[in-house]
Amino acid sequence: MIYVECILLVLLIVCAIVAPLARRGLSAVILYMTFGLILSVLWLVLESPDLAITEAALGAGVTGILFYVTLRKIKRTKDD
């Protein structure tokens, strides 16, 4: 069980380091959603199912959508 936790934590760190460095905005948002997903699994490992549901829906879902919509607005309205 410890090995699973360690692998998940290492994946978490890798996602966090790579997500803001991605070249395209869409890749950054998808990597951020992956970060949220791995974090949700970690909440389950830490025996907090409330946090897991909330993080999966809010962190990985809603925040990712908001980031994506903002990126679309910024790139799209550039040719006004």
Partner: protein, 127 residues
Amino acid sequence: MELLKALVEHRYALTASILFVTGLMNLMQQRHLVRKVIGLNIMDASIFLLLASQGYVEGRAAPVVAAGMAEQAAELYINPVPSGLVLTGIVVSVSVSAFSLALIQKIYREYGTTDIKELVHLVKRED
């Protein structure tokens, strides 16, 4: 070696500190404003990880008390307090990110760019 054993034993707190510093560096050094907000979110998540890992007790279950077990409940379930704090924190983190993104949209509408260097240029020129 005992250094490796100490690192593995405190894995959550160490990951939390690495994530915090990563998020902080992104918040301070990235040029695009949306990536700064991603860095802010990563910092928030690291603090939640640290908090929730302090509430875990080995061998115990999730804090949903089964019926009729209320007397020995203290020995069977993990600490619910940090879980509650993190629940509040996740929602506040989403609110702050949403507000920052709305601000970024307004900045873009006003100045035409979301690069922090050009923004500093443009804002200084207005002074």
